[in-house]
């Protein structure tokens, strides 16, 4: 009996203690007509057979050198990160409600909060939300609580399309108006909406869906000038080199959210990742999600515990700041170890390496005939390449050469048919970049022949 320890004698003794002779009796309060349906599941496997099957399934996914980004980035994760995060004491603990028996998790979460506030230059970070996109939806709801309900949210058209969809799904349930903000077709960067506007908040993506860098200072000031909150959406790795949202413009962004995946989380086909959210202390009572605080015990020894739980559903129920309960704890533990393992220098070096390799690839591709750059302006580690042929056809052909060449913007309903969003991280060696160039050259030749 996999995972059930009971021997026959033990079952007999336990039944006797309960006063039954058959385990079926334990279900005598269940109306009979509800039971006894055939369960259409296959037979169980031994662990040995299961491992073999898992390995076969894993092997049925083609290994590819990854040049796709779009909100999920292939990075090196130091071996110690999952070695530690996978330790049973972290991996199989529950949410740290019993603080004294959870000081390990709690201190890690406190350190995580500290890392994130330093990275974003904000004052408070929660202990995670499901992912970047849903974190953005939560940030919008938080902004509306701060700004008064009924107002709109300004959503950039160059925000990642899946993120825009999530905003529509979640905020749409409360019929919150979402107003698009267009981008300049030459630069891919946001165009400031003209005229009056009494929306609650402006979302500012740094980087945008094309990998481009926005004029974040001006955008922040524009929002603040109109009594809007500025909600920054940032790549946490990029913040090692880019200006922290806490100091954007005159006043800094009010809320900062992002996808934590670049901080030590495996791509894993899109999840589990984690969303982060940081804000100013003044707004903490409207914050969704868990918070850990440093405090002392009865003897005055330092310790950590959950705090401001009255914001949360298990206390406040229908009036909570969010319905979130289980969050992405283990991902945050891994991210904390990852941030520590890289250290400040390593984080910066990684960001720099990503960008340097991206620039190198761009330079190499300049030699490829027919290739264009639809957008001018600065970028971080990701850019749009306009191919003279269908980007989809090119991408699919490159798969056969073991390369995931990028994301076809057309599949996102953006850009033109030839547009490929290409991302380069520190994982790509110089040889990989040359291979990419050569494979692209060959493919363009083959496909145009």
């Amino acid at each position: 009996m996999p995972y059930i320890p009971h021997g026959a004698d033990e079952v007999a003794q336990m039944q006797a203690a309960i006063g039954i002779t058959d385990l079926e009796a334990l279900f005598d309060e269940v109306p009979a007509q509800l039971e006894g349906h055939d369960l259409l599941l296959p037979a169980g496997l031994s662990e040995m057979a299961l491992r073999r099957e898992l390995e076969e399934r894993a092997a049925a996914n083609t290994p590819l050198r990854c040049f796709a980004g779009g909100g999920a980035y292939a990075h090196h994760i130091p071996a110690i990160v999952w070695e530690i995060a996978g330790r049973g004491e972290f991996y199989t603990a529950y949410t740290p409600y019993q603080a004294e028996a959870s000081q390990g998790t709690l201190q890690v979460l406190y350190e995580y909060q500290s890392f994130l506030t330093r990275l974003t230059e904000m004052e408070v970070a929660n202990a995670s939300l499901y992912d970047g996109a849903s974190a953005l939806a939560e940030a919008c709801l938080m902004a509306l609580r701060l700004q008064g309900e009924g107002k709109a949210i300004l959503v950039p058209d160059n925000l990642l399309p899946a993120w825009r969809e999530v905003l529509h799904s979640i905020l749409g349930l409360q019929e919150i108006p979402l107003l698009g903000v267009p981008y300049d077709r030459q630069t891919g960067r946001l165009q400031l909406p003209e005229g009056e506007n009494d929306s609650a908040a402006l979302i500012i993506p740094q980087i945008n869906a094309f990998g481009g860098l926005e004029a974040v200072d001006a955008l922040t000031d524009w929002a603040h000038a109109r009594q809007m909150l500025a909600i920054a959406v940032v790549n946490p790795l990029a913040l090692a080199i880019l200006k922290a949202p806490g100091v954007w413009g005159q006043g800094g962004a009010d809320l900062v959210v992002g996808e934590g995946q670049p901080l030590g989380i495996p791509l894993s086909a899109g999840g589990p990742f984690f969303g982060f959210l940081t804000c100013r202390k003044a707004h903490v009572r409207q914050m969704p999600g868990r918070l850990v605080a440093r405090t002392v015990d009865v003897q005055g020894r330092e310790g950590f515990c959950l705090t401001l739980q009255a914001r949360e559903q298990h206390i406040r129920r229908g009036k909570a700041t969010s319905n979130i309960c289980t969050n992405q704890g283990l991902m945050v533990i891994a991210a904390t170890i990852h941030m520590a393992a890289l250290g400040g220098d390593g984080l910066r070096q990684t960001a720099v390496a990503c960008h340097r390799q991206a620039r190198r690839l761009r330079d190499l591709l300049a030699d490829v005939p027919g290739v264009q750059w639809p957008f001018s302006g600065p970028f971080f580690h990701e850019f749009v390449l306009r191919l003279p042929l269908s980007a989809k056809a090119v991408r699919d052909t490159l798969l056969e050469r073991g390369i995931l060449a990028g994301i076809c913007l057309a599949e996102w309903g953006m850009g033109e048919a030839g547009d490929l969003l290409v991302c380069v991280t520190e994982l790509a060696s110089d040889a990989d970049l040359l291979d990419y160039r050569d494979a692209l050259l060959a493919t363009l030749k083959d496909l145009s022949a």
Partner: protein
């Protein structure tokens, strides 16, 4: 004797140069200065050994399933098979980019498709979407589908969601987040729902009801068939909160009880780990009539046995996307591995032994003097004790019992939930614990009971044997030191 400093204590100042000064030499000169970080990042630079040692030692300050009995009611802290972790971490899964075209990820898509099928079989529902990231997001998806269903029928006035007072906090929070008003329905003294109150609440504005069965009171809702009839009769739909599915796994299917939509907590019922607070997975399952509204993406299989994603284009009536990608895939892989390992027979066994352990524990704890909240009822996979007798006697509260348990190396049960039972302990042993572990728990509880009567101060000041004593939560909220500043 070894307090653990914060990671920020480890800084060897390897590289004191100002970050901004380095931009050009590092190859960042194409990025305008105004967009670059000005100050250096105030971060530590520990050595790899320091990192490893720091977090390894911190890990040892946790209770966890892998180290302690953890009978946390409503949380189903069962064994999380390690083979599932090994499988999910295989490079063939862990390194897949979400934008990989389907032909290059057939292995994964097959796993997801099978999991959809199996969850449909387990729940007795027509179809499944795996995308919700946890139970609460599953609830949100579920009630959003109820909303979409009524709206699609032009039934726009159905704005009220009925929820038992005993329900988990996420239920009303999710209903509110989906734009519903919440109406609370009380339970009767036997733990079952108050049918009269239900009748009174039902009406043309009823969108539906959110229930879990067995309920959060640890007993099976015997009137479920009648409830379903009445709610359906009033035009409402039934939502099943899958948190307690372990109690009936492989035995009773929510679809057969009359539920229209539900979520499963894969991180409870299907043995994926809790990770100190997540990630979970809250797959939703629906009957036929709600199928068009399922959140996307989902996985489909074509006639050639090839798998592909269904997304917005394929699912026009979908409530949409709840996260940027396809949900917590790594968790889904683990749940799939668990089901594959157990198979049909193993799955059927789960609820039988979960119930055996719970009822055995209940009986033995009653025998040593503890009061059950519903002494006339069978326990489901969990049960509630109330220590109001100790409170009356000596002012001992459920919290004190909980903290004292920690001293004996046992994680505390859930306390003060459900809120309507005073001084309650919600105890869920799960099927993966042995009789010996349960017997030791009884022995310890008996000892604590005696201590509560004879040396109550011992409980009030507990825990005594952990790295820290009882923490000052009031001070924590007042000071609000939530980040170590540089």
């Amino acid at each position: 004797m070894n307090p653990t400093p914060l990671i920020f204590a480890y800084d060897h100042h390897r590289d004191p140069v100002q970050a901004s000064a380095r931009a050009a030499e590092e190859g960042l000169e194409d990025i305008p200065q105004t967009l670059l970080r000005g100050d250096a990042l105030h971060w530590p630079n520990p050595s790899e050994l320091e990192v490893l040692r720091h977090y390894t030692r911190l890990s040892q300050r946790n209770f966890s399933i892998d180290t302690h009995f953890y009978p946390l009611g409503s949380c189903t802290m069962k064994y999380n098979p390690r083979i599932a972790h090994e499988g999910a971490m295989l490079a063939g899964f862990a390194r897949l980019h979400p934008q990989t075209p389907a032909p290059a990820m057939q292995g994964l898509l097959r796993v997801l498709w099978e999991l959809q099928e199996w969850l449909a079989a387990i729940t007795g529902m027509a179809a499944v979407s795996l995308t919700p990231a946890a139970g609460a997001q599953g609830e949100l998806a579920g009630v959003a589908m109820i909303r979409a269903y009524h709206q699609a029928r032009g039934d726009h006035q159905r704005k009220r969601m009925l929820i038992p007072t005993a329900a988990h906090g996420t239920n009303p929070a999710s209903a509110r987040m989906a734009g519903f008003a919440v109406v609370e329905i009380p339970n009767g003294p036997d733990g079952d729902l108050d049918l009269a109150a239900l009748d009174a609440a039902l009406g043309p504005d009823t969108a539906g009801i959110m229930l879990t069965n067995p309920s959060t009171l640890g007993v099976f809702e015997r009137q479920i068939v009648q409830i379903a009839e009445r709610v359906h009769g009033a035009g409402g739909l039934l939502y099943y909160d899958g948190a307690n599915l372990n109690a009936i796994l492989g035995r009773v299917r929510p679809g057969d009880m009359g539920f229209d939509v539900m979520h499963l907590n894969l991180h409870k019922t299907l043995a994926t780990p809790h990770g100190g607070g997540g990630p979970g997975a809250g797959a939703v399952a629906v009957r036929e009539r709600l199928l068009p509204f399922l959140p996307q993406p989902r996985v489909a299989r074509d006639e050639h046995g090839r798998y592909h994603w269904l997304d917005a284009g394929d699912l026009p009536a979908s409530i949409g996307r709840l996260s940027a990608h396809a949900g917590n895939i790594g968790v889904l892989l683990r749940a799939h591995a668990y089901l594959r390992r157990l198979g049909r027979e193993g799955v059927e066994r789960v609820s039988r032994y979960a119930a055996l352990n719970a009822n055995y524990l209940l009986k033995r704890l009653q025998a040593v003097g503890f009061q059950a909240a519903f002494p006339e009822r069978r326990a489901s996979h969990e049960f509630i004790l109330s220590v109001t007798d100790l409170q009356r006697e000596n002012g001992i509260r459920a919290l004190d019992v909980a903290k004292r348990l920690l001293d004996y190396g046992i994680h505390a049960p859930t306390v003060y939930f459900p809120q309507l039972v005073p001084e309650c302990l919600l105890i869920e042993p799960t099927e993966t614990e042995s009789k010996a572990t349960l017997d030791r728990f009884v022995e310890v509880m008996q000892k604590i009971r005696q201590e509560a009567l004879e040396t109550p101060q011992l409980l009030r000041e507990a825990p005594h044997h952990l790295p820290v004593g009882r923490l000052d939560e009031a001070l924590a909220a007042r000071r609000l030191d939530v980040a170590d500043r540089a």
